[in-house]
Each structure stands twice: as C-alpha cells, then as structure tokens.
Symmetry: C2
Subunit: 191 residues, 2 copies
DNA sequence: CACTCGTTTGAGCGGTCGTTCAATATTAGC
DNA sequence: GCTAATATTGAACGACCGCTCAAACGAGTG
C-alpha cells in the first residue's frame, strides 16, 4: 500500500486531467484504467475506490491552484497578484486545460448528497482558496491599495464568486466572449 | 404521439425538477419512471430518448426563467427588474428549488462533447436569457438609469456572469454566505 | 356492445458500471 | 538463489444502465 511500483503523484495527475474534463459520474473506471495505465486491482489497492481516487485528484487540483496563486503573490503586489491569478485561471482554461471550468466548482455543481463526502471535500477546498484570497486582500489593505473600511472576507468571497462566474461564463460561450472586459468590470469596484 | 393520455407539460415539469436536482448523468430512467409515474414505453413514445426528455426540460426551465424576468420587467424599472430577477434566482435557490444552481449553467458544466446536442442547446438557451438582459439594459439606458456610453451587450454578459457566479458560490457555501452583500457588490459598478 | 387503433405496460435485452480476488509477477532480505 | 512479502494483473461478478416490443388496455365511434 505504502510503496507502490507506479508513481503515485503521476497517477493522480493523469486522473485529475480526466476527472476534470469529464466530471465524476461521466468518468468510468475503465476510462481511468486506460489513461493512468493501471489495472483495477492496482487502483483499488492504492486508492480504495473511485471516490478515494477522486478525492485525491480534488486535493491535487486545489494544491496546484494555491501554488499558482502563491507564485503570483511572490512577484506582484497583492491586488495585482489576485487579478493575475484570476486572469490566468480563466484564460488558460480556454485551451490546454481539460475543462473550461474550475474543477472544484464543477464538482460542487455536479455532486449531490449521494456523494456527501466528496461534495463536502470540494467545498472545503474552495474555502481554503478563499482564505488565501482573504489574506491577500488584507495585505492589499495594509499597503493602501484597497479601502481599509472594506471587509477583506467580503472582498475574498466576492472574488471567489467572480472567478466561478467567469469560468462558467467562459465555458458557456466557448471563450468567444470578451473575457478581458468582464474581468476588468469585475475588478472595477475594487481598484 | 401527439395525443398522450398523460399531461405532457406536467410530466416535463416533474422531470425538470429531478434533472435539475441530480443532473443529466446522475438521473436514471428508473428514477424518472418513479417521479413522473410512467413506464419506459410511454416515456420513449413521448420523448424518444433520455436526451429528448432532457432537452425539453431545459427548454421548460429556460421558459420559466424568461417568464419570471418578464414578470419583474412589467412592474419595475428595467435595472430594478434585473436586480430583482437575479436576487430571486439566487435566493429562492437556497430552499425550495431542486438545486442551488442554474440548471442551464449546471448542464453546461456537466456535459461534454459526448452529448454535443444537449450542450449546444443549453448554451443557446443561456444566450436567449442574455438577450433579454441586453434588451432591459438598453431600455435602462434610454430611461437614463444607466450610462449611455456603456455597451448594453457588455452589461448583459456581465450580469449573466454574475448570476452564474452567485448561484455557484451560493451552492458552494450552502447559502451561509452573505449573498445580499455579494449582489450589492455585483451591481455596484452599474447603478 | 363490439370493433378499432393509438397509448401504456413491464419483463427483459445487451451492455457497462464499480468492484473483487485468486493467480501471477516483482522486489527485498538473507 | 531461495524465500517471504508485496504489488499487479485481468477475468469475472452482481447490479444497474438506457432502451425495446409483444401484449394488454381504454377512449371514441357506429
């Protein structure tokens, strides 16, 4: 269980791509077997179930999102980092990435109480991203880039909501819409 | 085919509730058979396939959305009607309605090219709602409630994006978030 | 009431689903 | 190089999927 012959991280990455593209229900185990090149026994020995594997892909996705955000925060002022992160999230979603949607938002949209644990996990991971937003918003206030009378929490939830809306709208319009204008409008009330 | 013994509209309504709640893939025909109280033969005689029935539920959902919007537009100034519609869409979604999500946005998020026709239909219906937004935005400009140098098309797409984001965020937070504040923030740039 | 013809029924089809487990292959320790 | 321990394989399982169709039903007509 602990020392697998295959590269666990690599396996999760490949599974993430597939789940992200097709969603939980539309992805079959046989689909996964082909993509991650493992037979059912190995998958179940490593991850326990389809749900178990999916949970790890959610965490993988959330981690890489947080890393992207941190990368921008390291080289840009907080508010610019937030805008850069959101712009990147929405626009890179148009081409190379599996779906145009946020995988966590897509999961929250798809799942019901029939998969309560996965639904709760996706919500929890979204919250961790929002917390990172809150920290950056607070930092922006300290640096005077943002009104100090605004609640950083409220700004963070607003940005999270914008990100969800932007990705969903981008997908609904096949990226034909003027996304850049929409992002500018979204940030208009802040800067 | 044309004269069914069951109430076709009532059947579609019930199916809409179920599809809206669980999504296309997670809703089984046996599920539907129970809810709409028809046996498979009748369903296939009336709607042809699961996809055919789903398509009609999408149209049913879009129509009732457009009717709600028209209802508000009949008794309120254009901009207030838009805000009332969005507020209603997001807040009624918290309780009685099947999902907290917009059924069309949920469908666009869930489906892939494996169901290309349904995906295209959901996108098309979203666009019809956006067109209604555009008309109201233009009317608001004529009445001086909105800057005339803003493109009504751009305002409409912004509002559509906001609506998608609000519903998705509301679902992700179990409606615990301060949705009213978010709506105010969303409209802050307009009024 | 008998006949007609479109509607409804529901058992059941072929296929795919997530999952299991005995058999096999691979590695690590001596 | 043998053995014990562990990872991997893949055929197969029961359950459920979307869907079909011969048979039963029932409203309208004469």
């Amino acid at each position: 269980m602990s020392s697998a012959r295959h590269d666990r991280q690599e396996t999760i990455k490949k599974a993430t791509q597939l789940f992200w593209e097709k969603g939980f229900h539309a992805t079959s185990m046989r689909n996964l077997q082909d993509v991650i090149d493992l037979r059912p026994g190995s998958i179940y020995a490593s991850f326990g179930s389809k749900e178990g594997l999916f949970r790890e892909t959610l965490q993988c996705y959330a981690n890489s999102s947080l890393e992207r955000l941190a990368k921008h925060a390291a080289s840009l002022p907080p508010l610019d980092a937030l805008k850069a992160f959101i712009t990147e999230s929405v626009s890179t979603a148009k081409g190379s990435s599996p779906s145009d949607m946020c995988m966590l938002a897509k999961t929250v949209a798809e799942l019901t109480q029939d998969n309560a644990e996965l639904l709760a996990e996706a919500k929890r991971l979204l919250k961790t991203i929002e917390v990172a937003f809150t920290e950056l918003a607070a930092k922006a206030q300290q640096q005077g880039a943002l009104d100090k009378d605004k609640d950083p929490q409220r700004i963070a939830s607003f940005l999270q909501m914008q990100l969800m809306g932007l990705k969903a709208y981008s997908r609904a319009t096949d990226g034909k819409a003027n996304i850049k204008a929409l992002i500018d409008d979204a940030f208009a009330g802040l800067s």
